[in-house]
């Protein structure tokens, strides 16, 4: 174990605490009466969790790729299932993202949720525990338990507090995600039977045969691609996003979607390296499809939430593209892009929630020309929209730039296609901003005509300002964030390289598909 883990040396078991505090907090909500106290309790618990998670950042050892802050306990000895937690450079940012976004989710539900507050806070806290659990588990069974346990609270968030078509959306969400993960379940058991362990680092170290790798690779990929979501299994996402309450949308966009990308990095690449390299062109092609389709569909939406949901498909396409370029810059760009998407899209959903509370409509046409009436609101809206289209100086610019750089350095064709996605992002976001801020406004305030459109209050400003800090922090100084993932990314690439070397010859022509396509296009162009 010591070769993979650095045991926690803080004076409290930090990772267990991050899971346990929200879980116990959720139990205690059952005994609290009164919406006001419940809100405060939810905020206290999530803030405590956030504060307790900060030592992860300050005490993180940048020089090692081992799993840090690790804890190990026997759990079900006879089946060799252990309770192992740990974080490395890949997961630490996602853990912090989760703990920091959750207080905002409570804040943005402050007045949005009108009924069943007790259940709401309880479910949100269970959700937080499960999400942190997914990112810190180092045992496949533990990972799977958290992965699946998350479905139930999320289902309830959509089904109980959702919009008019919540029934359809929640069941679609549940079925899609679950059917994706049942094969993941078989893969986990199959790997256990082959290797005798559920411990993820040992599974990474094990050399599976090529055909075996292909099977588990596709089992993993199905589960994670649905979660990301990649084209063509993305259809649950717009439905879920549109119907979920604001906090549900924020959780979905900021954290749930990241689990797909995290799964690729934690399972597919290191455990099935040869299969990853072999299948890389297909995954890149699917990612490109996600980028272009997501952007194209977002262009045609009139519902603000739906527009942002489709933009998520496009943005997450950049993440999977970065991952499957399989080089240092691409993977770092992908991880950073995951964090960025969590910040930016989460913020955009909060913006939509705020305006929905005032106008009770998500149509762009009903929410137009807000510039004069809600100046603070539109300032934030523009900041996050620019961030979403990767405007230089904002966080997404750095992530997207890294991914594009990686793709141009590897395959020019892929880079060229991905740029289309970036252009589409500018098109749909600017259209949204133009309509919502200015539209046909004559630039003068007309008193009394839209009195319900009051500007942001202190709570809402604080929520959005917190995220805006990160937009500029990552945008202007991404160094510290990239440095955290440095060692782990290199280690991951080393694992891939080892996996490639261990494979017998015959699987060498990995890039035939992409090179072939590029070649034939070049011929076509030259012929004309």
């Amino acid at each position: 174990m010591e070769q993979y883990l650095i045991y926690n040396s803080l004076n409290y078991p930090i990772l267990t605490v991050l899971v346990a505090v929200p879980l116990f907090g959720s139990l205690i909500t059952l005994f609290i009466r009164g919406d006001k106290y419940l809100k405060i309790w939810g905020l206290v618990v999530t803030l405590t969790t956030a504060v307790l998670s900060l030592p992860l950042y300050s005490n993180f050892d940048l020089t090692t790729a081992k799993y840090q802050f690790a804890e190990f306990r026997n759990w079900i000895p006879f089946a060799k299932i252990n309770y192992v937690l740990g974080v490395d450079g890949i997961s630490i940012l996602l853990v912090l993202l989760t703990t920091l976004v959750m207080p905002l989710c409570i804040l943005c539900s402050w007045t949005y949720i009108k009924e069943r507050f007790k259940e709401f806070i309880c479910v949100m806290l269970i959700m937080e525990a499960a999400m942190v659990g997914v990112f810190v588990s180092l045992d496949t069974v533990l990972f799977f338990i958290f992965w699946e346990a998350m479905l139930v609270p999320m289902y309830l968030i959509i089904a109980v507090w959702g919009g008019p078509r919540k029934d359809y959306a929640s069941i679609k969400f549940f079925l899609y995600t679950l059917i994706g993960s049942i094969f993941l379940f078989v893969a986990i058991i199959a790997m256990y039977v082959t290797t005798g362990t559920f411990f993820i680092p040992e599974l990474m170290a094990h050399q599976f045969s090529f055909s075996y790798q292909m099977w588990i690779f596709w089992a993993f990929t199905l589960a994670f691609a649905i979660k990301v979501p990649m084209w063509p299994v993305h259809t649950w996402l717009p439905a879920a996003h549109v119907e979920a309450p604001t906090a549900g949308s924020v959780i979905l966009a900021s954290i749930l979607l990241k689990m797909g990308g995290y799964g690729f990095l934690r399972f597919c690449l290191p455990i099935a390296p040869a299969a990853t390299i072999y299948c890389m062109p297909y995954l890149i092609a699917i990612s490109i499809m996600s980028i272009i389709f997501g952007g194209y569909l977002a262009l045609g939406q009139n519902d603000v939430k739906r527009l942002i949901a489709y933009s998520s498909v496009g943005h997450m396409g950049f993440v999977t593209l970065g991952i499957f370029l399989l080089n240092d810059v691409g993977i770092k760009g992908a991880i950073l892009q995951m964090v960025n998407h969590g910040v930016t899209t989460g913020a955009l959903f909060i913006c939509v929630g705020i305006i929905y509370e005032r106008t009770h409509s998500r149509e762009i046409s009903d929410n137009s020309a807000l510039g004069m009436l809600m100046p603070i609101y539109v300032t934030f809206l523009v900041i996050f929209s620019l961030s979403s289209l990767a405007f230089p100086g904002t966080n997404s610019f750095v992530g997207e730039f890294l991914v594009l750089m990686a793709s141009f350095s590897k395959y020019k064709l892929v880079g060229g296609l991905a740029v289309i996605g970036a252009i589409l992002a500018a098109a749909y976001m600017l259209r949204l901003v133009q309509k919502m801020v200015w539209a046909d406004s004559d630039g003068h305030m007309h008193h009394g005509e839209k009195s319900h459109l009051f500007d942001l209050n202190f709570r809402e400003t604080g929520t959005l300002a917190f995220l805006a800090i990160f937009v500029f922090w990552i945008g202007l100084n991404p160094g510290p964030f990239l440095k955290i993932m440095d060692t782990s990314t290199l280690h991951l690439l080393q694992q891939l390289e080892d996996g490639r070397k261990a494979m017998p010859a015959g699987h060498g022509e990995y890039h035939a598909l992409l090179n072939g396509v590029g070649e034939s296009i070049r011929h076509l162009v030259a012929f004309k």
Binding site: I76, I179, I182, V186, I189
Partner: protein, 471 residues
């Protein structure tokens, strides 16, 4: 004498009910008596765990294996009696008799788990079945007439299934000249691959227990009987006989030895057909009890996956799964039972808005249904994890892929139940006020389904001893 204590405790309970049927005790006091004495039986069977020995010319063996099943059966009976406030679905005058035969039926199952000789096994099976034949038609007269149909179906098919079992025994006896399992286990593995007749005999013998387990191809009674019988009877039929059947199936399947390929193939086909048929049929049901009947057919298939591995781990996971199934199914029946104060059948329409009427019942239903669907961290998930691990260890990938696809299908109808309970319709139905004792039972179900699912180690180490004793 002490070896026989748990059985005596149940017999005592039956006698108490017999005298109660002569008097005028009814309602809550009768139920109190039942809770008291069946609770006593649980304690006694717990106390007698660990005893060993044989009785009745070695036809009856008391070991860790039989004792763990006795505990589960006594406990299941206790829960069935405890389910609600009195018997909603049974006529007042028949209530003592109802409890009497319920207890006798559980007694039959209890002795069955100790029986190690074929004729004894059939006798025990009949004690259990006859008692059940009588109580299935017990139901208040009302808009419901299906209880008669259910009673006749259960009795006729049950008799036929016993007949098939006996016929199978005649083959086995004819070829081996013994009915003792201890002797059979020495003979059968040698001949089962050479003599097809032995395979036929063994499968026919198992048929009687497939009937109890509601495994394909002996499943067809389940939906009609569940629907026709009173809610409390369905809760009993759906759970306890299956536990007894699993105990016997473990004993009988292990007769064939581990390398009986054709035998495994037959069981595999039954398992797959059972889960596929059960899950597909459950998708379109509207009556919740009927839905649970089809779901139980599917679950019989899952349990079979563990048993047909014929390994220690396979049996172990089978025991764990059936114990979990008992709890999760009883949790669902607990909700049905308390939703129907007149003993009527429950449909999806009755479930809607349940979370507003009674949050606790809605949560119990959600935990039970998600458990049956296999969502972690419930006992259903851990059970499936063990079952599938056992099967993959034997290299049965195809079987597991089919089982997993079935799990995916099944999610839909379990989710439909939860969805019905959690959708808010503007229903006029009044809030349900549960009694404290009922609420405690609901919380107990939620807690044990989650806890036993998260910490299976204790149960599994006990079950391992039991399996070791049986093999």
């Amino acid at each position: 004498m002490t070896l026989f204590l748990p059985e005596l405790a149940l017999l005592l309970t039956a006698v108490v009910f017999f005298f109660a049927s002569l008097g005028k005790i009814k309602g809550a006091r009768l139920q109190g008596l039942g809770i008291l004495f069946s609770g006593l039986a649980v304690l006694i069977s717990l106390y007698s765990y660990g005893m060993q020995g044989s009785l009745f010319f070695n036809a009856y063996r008391v070991d860790a294996f039989s004792q763990i099943f006795k505990v589960i059966i006594a406990f299941g009976l206790f829960i069935v009696i405890y389910l609600g406030n009195g018997l909603y679905g049974i006529d007042d005058v028949l209530q003592p008799e109802y409890f009497l035969f319920l207890t006798l039926s559980a007694f039959g199952l209890m002795v069955m788990s100790s029986a190690v000789e074929l004729i004894t096994i059939i006798l025990c099976l009949e004690i259990h079945s006859f008692a059940l034949f009588i109580i299935i038609p017990f139901r208040k007269k009302g808009a419901y007439r299906q209880q008669m149909e259910a009673g006749i179906k259960y009795a006729l098919f049950g008799a036929a299934a016993s007949g098939i079992s006996l016929y199978g025994i005649s083959y086995i006896f004819g070829m081996t000249h013994t009915t003792y399992l201890a002797d059979l286990v020495k003979i059968i593995p040698g001949v089962i691959l050479k003599k097809p007749l032995m395979l036929v005999g063994l499968v026919m013998l198992l048929g009687g227990f497939f009937y109890k387990l509601a495994l394909f191809p002996m499943h067809f009674w389940a939906p009609d009987v569940y629907e026709g019988a009173a809610n409390e009877t369905s809760g009993f039929v759906a759970t306890l006989p299956k536990v007894g059947a699993v105990a016997l199936l473990i004993r009988l399947i292990s007769l064939a030895g581990v390398d009986a390929a054709q035998f495994t193939w037959v069981l595999m086909a039954f398992a797959v057909l059972s889960m596929t048929f059960g899950n597909l049929a459950a998708l379109v049901q509207n009556d919740i009890k009927r839905l649970l009947a089809y779901s139980s057919i599917a679950h019989a298939g899952y349990v079979m996956v563990g048993l047909l591995c014929a390994t220690e781990f396979g049996y172990l996971s089978g025991v764990y799964y059936i114990a979990g199934y008992l709890l999760m199914n009883l949790a669902c029946f607990f909700v049905i039972y308390n939703l129907a104060p007149q003993g009527e059948n429950i449909t999806f329409a009755d479930l809607s808005g349940l979370y507003k009427r009674s949050p606790l019942l809605a949560l119990t239903l959600a935990v039970g249904a998600f458990g049956l669907a296999g969502i972690p961290p419930t006992i259903g998930f851990t059970g499936k994890l063990f079952l599938f691990t056992a099967a993959i260890k034997k290299g049965m990938y195809g079987l597991i892929i089919l089982a997993v696809i079935n799990t995916g299908i099944a999610i839909f109808y379990y989710l439909k139940m939860v969805r019905a309970a959690y959708t808010s319709v503007e229903s006029q139905a009044s809030p349900l006020n549960l009694k404290l004792s009922t609420s405690i039972l609901g919380i107990f179900f939620i807690a044990i389904i989650l806890l036993l699912g998260t910490f299976p180690q204790g149960f599994m180490s006990v079950a391992r001893e039991a399996i070791a004793a049986a093999m």
